[in-house]
Amino acid sequence: MPMAVPAVGGTPNGTSTSMPNGTASNLKADDNIARFSAPSRPLSPLGEHTLFHPKTRCFVYGLQPKAVQGMLDFDFICKRTTPSVAGIIYTFGGQFVSKMYWGTSETLLPVYQSSEKAMAKHSDVDTVVNFASSRSVYQSTMELMEFPQIKCIAIIAEGVPERRAREILHVAKKKGITIIGPATVGGIKPGAFKIGNTGGMMDNIVASKLYRKGSVGYVSKSGGMSNELNNIIAHNTDGVYEGVAIGGDRYPGTTFIDHMLRYQADPECKILVLLGEVGGVEEYRVIEAVKSGVITKPIVAWAIGTVASMLKTEVQFGHAGSFANSQLETAAKKNESMRAAGFHVPETFEDLPATLSKVYQSLVQDGTIKPQPEPAVPKIPIDYAWAQELGLIRKPAAFISTISDDRGQELLYAGMPISDVFRDNIGIGGVMSLLWFRRRLPDYASKFLEMVLMLTADHGPAVSGAMNTIITTRAGKDLISALVSGLLTIGSRFGGALDGAAEEFTKAYDKGLSPRDFVDTMRKENKLIPGIGHRVKSRNNPDLRVTLVKEFVHANFPKTTLLDYALAVESVTTSKKDNLILNVDGCVAVCFVDLLRNCGAFSPEEAEDYLRMGVLNGLFVLGRSIGLIAHFLDQKRLRTGLYRHPWDDITYLLPNLNNGAPGNEGRVLA
């Protein structure tokens, strides 16, 4: 599979497409994208003790744009020339590149669907930050360890089964791979490399001076506390040299001793800090190393969880591994043993900064540590989204919405949480009143809206809209096409009687025309009165639908002015011809006007506004959609084939070019 964008060392503007963005300049979006060639390997081979260095390159396994951006920002303020992340491995991916910021410009990180491809492309990568879930992390880590180039894997997931964790660390040990985690935030080497979310946001990284190296190496169990250590170390010494959070599980891939030994071997690391915890016996291996003289650098240490021995019952603390199975595993015993072995162990954890400061000062005095001049504090551009969350910036919005909001805990309809919509059982009419009119209407009004939907839902297969839907369906089109072809028929002739009736009746009433004057005017203008007349129903054979609406409206509406007016018009027209009754469209239309004008929820201006916007047509469209979908389903169910209208049902009259101008078709030629 070819990469959509050259992954490394790509030709500049390889796939650039000009982006018309409205500005007159010739700047292309692509011009702001930084591209990096593969870095050369460090010239001198690094010591065994070096896990991370300023040229460390890694993959991030899993789609974690925030964490990756954090790593790139860190690289940028550490003045790395290439980002530490070479690519993203995302097995569910379909995307070839992921766009990231490099300072203020942008860069593209390749996204690979398989580890194999990623490894083949980037032979310089030796580290993976694995964000796979607790369920899949075993399989992916085992796979990653198959590649000889991988030297270190950080496992972030919490809740990895203990047997799987042990299998991973067993294989890793055989292959000489360093595993950090599971259940950790990772680790950080100031000025060089940061794993995932370690160190928190950029402002904290700057506050804890993690952009340049110090002299203190630490190992902690907890990821949260590692951040606290960054802070303590920054305030009491010349800063962090390297820090690793091994994770709170029972079987971390590497433990205190592994990293302590590295720090011991690294000449640039001068002070060791160990933050242990109740549970496990790994601290004792560090004690042995000190006793046997393997570790000689000063260690400031504390084991948290001293409270456990003072409680009456056993408590499982936040970390899975923090549970003492024997006296040896208690924090109190660990602190005591570490103190006895010559570690600098404070009285309480609160005293640790003072202890650390004392050790640091003594090393400065004897010249072991020479404090370096402080470099300028780097600036990192703040992300737009974050700045907005902090309330630092504002910008005019391109869109405004005043009816619904999906951003919060619950979907809101005009301010009403969706759970209330159901609890109050406001029905579809209630939802319509919220979304269409942004207010709760009285119950009878919601009921009336629902009645209209029910009445307009369908009017048989023969009407134009339904016909169009049926024909489209039979042409093999999908639901939306069939529905829309029916809906597009709606206009002043089909389904338009509602709007027309509302308009004409309202106009006449508002002008103060008497019903008889209204009928006369319309006749003089040769206009049919919309909403009057039915093909079969008459005064003596009334349309039951109209009766239903009339009864409901008379029983529930506070005022029925326009309905009463329309009924008076009906009595004029029926006196001329029996079937010129107020039909269902006319009745619904005038009642709806009565509702808008008299229910008390609308000002007169609002009522007119809604009518002008065509809300009545909306009612018809919504109601009739039910019927049109029904016709679609019906045709599909019946497996009807493509429709072709029979020739004999079409009169063909074509112009005969030999017989003068068109327009004379059908004339019998003399």
Partner: protein, 487 residues
């Protein structure tokens, strides 16, 4: 989520079902048995609060008809993760059903002291009594360490097994199962003091037991006594695990949940009288595994509520009530920081006044934080007032990615709702937190404190993570030179 103890009845059900089913790691000395084990006879009886003990015992006779077989003798014991029950007089051996019934009736629902812990007896296990010669009692223990799994075995099992660490034979099975020892190696390592004649039978059983341990992801398994009675030609044996304690790795639920569940299904347990088509749909065949709270630490309604919330989200929410009438309450973010706070409170001399342990982390939503905070506040304000007032720590480390302002919104909402009560109970509130957008979070909480006239002190990252604990609890530590967050 970690290694959790399970009921003895569940442990036995899993062993009984999977002993013949779990794939053995290497061929064992005996041919695989042609039939699977018969359903185990485990009458597991639960006596919920307020239920009539007698009704439950009567129902047991319907559910477990074998209890009524004439001439049967039974063992009855509480099944609540209590160690050394025999020593505490919580073991009724060789009893007829009416005797066992009376024994249980006397104890069910009553408070019992075991060593230093008081707890209510609610869960009992009744099984057939197995008469056996003393020399068939063995002890076996499998437990996991970093390098592999230790198998401890001694031929002198029973109540008086003594210090097994000292006297048991030990064998470390490496994590990599391709290095699993041969039958001869197992026999040589563990069975030195056992007559040659039963070696095959025991090696076979130990291998199968270990296969279940691996297949069902136990982290601890102890059987004492383990009774193995070989048949005449030692080609097979009758094995009874009389007393058992086990822990499963709860995090392995996604791999083993189905195996745990099926062993506990009505069919596997041979319960014809339990409606097999229960109306409740479960994820697996059989009920999901239950992980009971330790003896004497029955989960309160509130703890259960938080545990449920915890199980339903990616965030972590934990709450353990240590002393509901304690003066010192904590509302701390972060698995590590929460322990540090508890430590600091204890080292200030307030271990007995520490009311709760808990933590929230992993970016909980505002609503989750609100519900969590509200639960803790309710518990604190429901307890009787204390003449010296109470102390609430709203603490936490420097968050890595949680937006502090947004989680604090939840805390603030909860504080607002109970503000008058907080003052009535004379609650001092000490706040320390940092991380993304902490400035906003601290400013908001400080404003609310002032607006509602709460006795509140607010600190940011300049303060040591748990530095507020001594300031609040040890008189004279707080002075004017210590600057609060000024926002």
């Amino acid at each position: 989520m970690s290694a959790k103890s399970i009921l003895e009845a569940d442990g036995k059900a899993i062993l009984n079902y999977h002993l013949t089913r779990a794939p053995v790691i290497k061929p064992t000395p005996l041919p695989p048995s042609a039939t699977h084990n018969a359903p185990p006879r485990l009458a597991s009886l639960h006596f919920p609060e307020g239920a009539a003990v007698k009704d439950i015992l009567d129902q047991a006779e319907v559910t477990y008809p074998w209890l009524l077989q004439s001439g049967s003798k039974f063992v009855a014991k509480p099944d609540q993760l209590i160690k050394r029950r025999g020593k505490s007089g919580l073991l009724a051996l060789n009893k007829t059903w009416p005797e066992a019934k009376a024994w249980i009736e006397e104890r069910a629902g009553k408070v019992q002291r075991v060593e230093t812990v008081d707890g209510v007896l609610r869960q009992f296990l009744v099984e057939p009594f197995v008469p056996h010669p003393q020399d068939t009692e063995y002890y076996i223990n499998i437990n996991s360490v970093r390098e592999g799994d230790w198998i401890l075995f001694t031929h002198e099992g029973g109540v008086d097994v003594g210090d097994v660490d000292e006297k048991a034979e030990k064998l470390l099975i490496p994590v990599d199962l391709s290095e699993f020892p041969s039958n001869e190696e197992i026999a040589a390592a563990l069975l030195k003091k056992v007559p040659q004649g039963v070696h095959n039978v025991l090696v076979d059983f130990i291998s199968r037991l270990y296969a279940v341990y691996v297949d069902c992801q136990f982290t601890y398994l102890e059987i004492n006594p383990l009774v193995v009675i070989p048949n005449a030609d030692a080609t097979s044996a009758e094995v009874h695990f009389l007393d058992l304690a086990a822990k499963l790795d709860q995090t392995a639920e996604f791999e083993c949940g189905a195996k745990w569940a099926i062993a506990r299904s009505a069919t596997a347990l041979g319960l014809p009288n339990v409606p097999s088509q229960s109306t409740k749909v479960t994820v697996d065949v059989g009920p999901p595994m239950e992980f009971p709270a330790p003896f004497g630490r029955e989960m309160s309604k509130e703890e259960a509520y938080i545990a449920e919330m915890d199980a339903k989200t990616g965030a972590s929410l934990k709450l353990t009530i240590l002393n509901g009438n304690g003066r010192v309450w904590t509302l701390v973010a972060g698995g590590g920081a929460s322990v540090v706070y508890a430590d600091a409170i204890a080292s200030a001399g307030f271990a007995s006044e520490l009311a709760n342990y808990g933590e929230y982390s992993g970016a909980p939503t505002e609503t989750q934080t609100y519900n969590y905070a509200r639960t803790v506040l309710d518990l604190m304000l429901r307890a009787p007032m204390h003449p010296e007032g109470k102390v609430l720590f709203i603490g936490g480390g420097i968050a890595n990615f949680t937006n502090v302002a947004s989680t604090f919104k939840g805390v603030i909402r909860a504080l607002r709702e109970v503000a008058p009560l907080l003052n009535e109970h004379k609650v001092q509130i000490w706040v320390r937190r940092a991380g993304p957008n902490y400035q906003e979070g601290l400013k908001n909480i400080k404003n609310v404190g002032q607006e509602l006239q709460l006795n509140m002190h607010v600190f940011g990252p300049e303060m040591h993570v748990s530095g507020i604990v001594p300031l609040a609890l040890i008189p004279g530590k707080m002075n004017d030179s210590i600057k609060e967050f000024s926002g």
